[in-house]
Symmetry: C2
Subunit: 359 residues, 2 copies
């Protein structure tokens, strides 16, 4: 199985007596202190965590008059390690991306761990190291943390909540209600990779070697996109959404309803890897409904759409970006896909479960 | 059993088809939207959640130049309802209190739910309503949320992460490293109530009628305490800590180490309810190690300690406040309890598990 490779993980000496997590690691005493100090604080080391307070004081006066972005996400993905990533990296990138989707520069994350008794210390160590690396890449700091332990059979190894704070640059006004007829719709790359990567490894479908999760931080690309100016409101980017649970169809449906506009896109323009398409056909799934963890959908002013597209294609996380459709004043609230042969169909919000525990 | 009483809970009509949580409630489609819209958004309704974005934009320019406080806590308490409270109220008060312990005015919370398949919708409904009520009492808003569902046998009904943002008033400088020899140590009321309330109901010990959790928001009392002026640094309150996991002994040990000072207190001055004392004796537990959810420990300048004490006693959450000891420059890092008969003992940090899943 093509799981991510790690440098050899070395157990910190004070934790050597505990090959696995036990209930005491969550009980507020010396064992919990050891775990936090020698594992998490060592991996996430920064001056903020060194405050050791019940809460962490953040200095944001450099950003006075700017709005904050605030977002939370719990991660329960199964398995914990999958082709292209792991729950730790996902937990960092997921919240970084949610912040970036309001145009914010992500700054601080909290990390809340719910550990299951019996979790191997090495597994936790690798996840913690992966989070630290992802934070470094995304340029964020873990500024607050919490650890709880539940009995065997009441968790699944580790669940992670990350909650993030970012700063929204002055003049940026990106919101689900901002789509306007005429806006063009860009997707930043191939869809369905994350969901199919998870399904493949979970169900033993044998696609693992071909399909990797696309988990990636998108804040850098968003910052570049925001440099493109245009429109009377200052920013020509009206809506941004990362296409996670529910995939492209959930994003388009939510924005169509929130902005009370219609959406039309051309099916064959949506980039999907051949291997993902093949897996979807075999599983009876529609790639438009599959979760992504490193792809965004942007609704932008028509006049600068090509310029924004060029900026995206210049970024490693947007090199396959493409315009797939447009916003219309017809059929408000509805998302319509046009097919190559001239037909059209309504793309509805998925009802319930497609792929459980995908993130 | 004396569990908290609720008004009759009425299931919102669009959720009637789901007496219990199913996997689809976490899958990003229509079912999840229904749950969020008709349960959580209805209970927590505010303009912030109405933004419906991947992240929520917060306007904090009224607090320019003030530092932010940031804190996270996951709640895995078992059982979900207990004498004096429930997991929802605890999740709000817990993070509100962590913010207040840096002197901050709590403003915004996120709420991340990990629901177990099969959880009764009514149970979730009562917890959600309880959170909403607790937010109203504490004066905070839930500004961001997330819902995940895990399969039966991988959770325990519901786990809740709350992460909070508060604003630290200018001039306030409260930190674990700020304790100074001569500071007096105040506890805000009786200790051990929460932990013993949970233990009683979980183990069927029959103390339930007497002992209730002390879960309460302490931010109001802290704001009043901060009105007392004194000392050259502007604020005479040097350290604040709520005595949760690990109880009084964890707080005193952590502050003694962080500030590199010694701590002495008189055992018999620590207020403990007779019923809690009796339960502790029966269970072989030390009330100084038991978790509280509505009690704080304050290290304050000696000259204004009585004034701060009076302010606390005037508040419903501090009416049993008492000075229990002082900070010394002897035995740095050590906590020593003096007994009535003139003896003394070192009160160490608890090692590991005392009472699992107490919060």
């Amino acid at each position: 199985m093509d799981i991510p490779s790690f440098d050899g993980w070395t157990c910190p000496l004070p934790l050597k007596n505990y090959p696995t997590i036990v209930m005491g690691h969550g009980a507020g005493g010396k064992m919990m202190n050891d775990l936090i100090r020698h594992l998490f604080a060592a991996d996430f080391h920064n001056d903020l965590l060194a405050q050791l307070g019940d809460s962490t004081a953040l200095e944001l006066s450099a950003f006075r008059d700017q709005r904050l972005a605030f977002s939370t996400d719990s991660f329960v993905v199964s398995p914990l390690f999958f082709p292209g990533g792991d729950i730790g990296e996902l937990a960092v990138n997921g919240t970084v991306n949610d912040l970036a989707m309001s145009g914010a520069m992500p700054l601080f994350l909290s990390a809340g761990f719910i550990l299951e008794e019996g979790l191997e210390m090495e597994t936790l160590g690798r996840i913690s190291a992966s989070m630290a690396r992802a934070c470094e890449i995304a340029g964020v700091q873990i500024a607050a943390g919490d650890t709880k332990v539940v009995e065997r059979g009441h968790g699944d190894g580790v669940y992670i909540n990350t909650t993030g704070i970012g700063v929204i640059p002055a003049g940026v006004d990106i919101a689900p209600t901002n789509a306007r007829p005429g806006d063009l719709i860009i997707v930043s790359g191939t869809l369905g990779d994350h969901g199919i990567a998870i399904m493949s490894v979970r169900e033993g479908l044998g696609f693992e070697s071909e399909i990797k999760s696309d988990t990636a931080p998108l804040n850098g690309m968003v910052a570049e996109m925001l440099q493109v100016k245009g429109g009377h409101k200052g920013t020509p980017i009206h809506c941004l959404r990362d296409a996670t649970r529910g995939g492209l169809s959930a994003v388009l449906n939510e924005l169509a309803v929130a902005s009370n506009v219609g959406i039309e896109f051309e099916e064959e323009k949506v980039p999907v890897r051949p291997a993902v398409n093949a897996a979807c056909e075999m599983l009876g799934l529609d790639p438009f409904y599959i979760a992504n963890e490193g792809k965004l959908v942007a609704f932008v002013l028509e006049t600068v759409a090509e310029e924004i597209l060029a900026v995206m294609r210049n970024n490693e996380h947007g090199k396959n970006a493409v315009i797939i459709g447009r916003v219309t004043d017809e059929h408000p609230g509805l998302v319509v896909a046009r097919t190559m042969i001239g037909g059209s169909r309504v793309v509805d919000l998925p009802a319930g479960e497609l792929l459980p525990r995908i993130c």
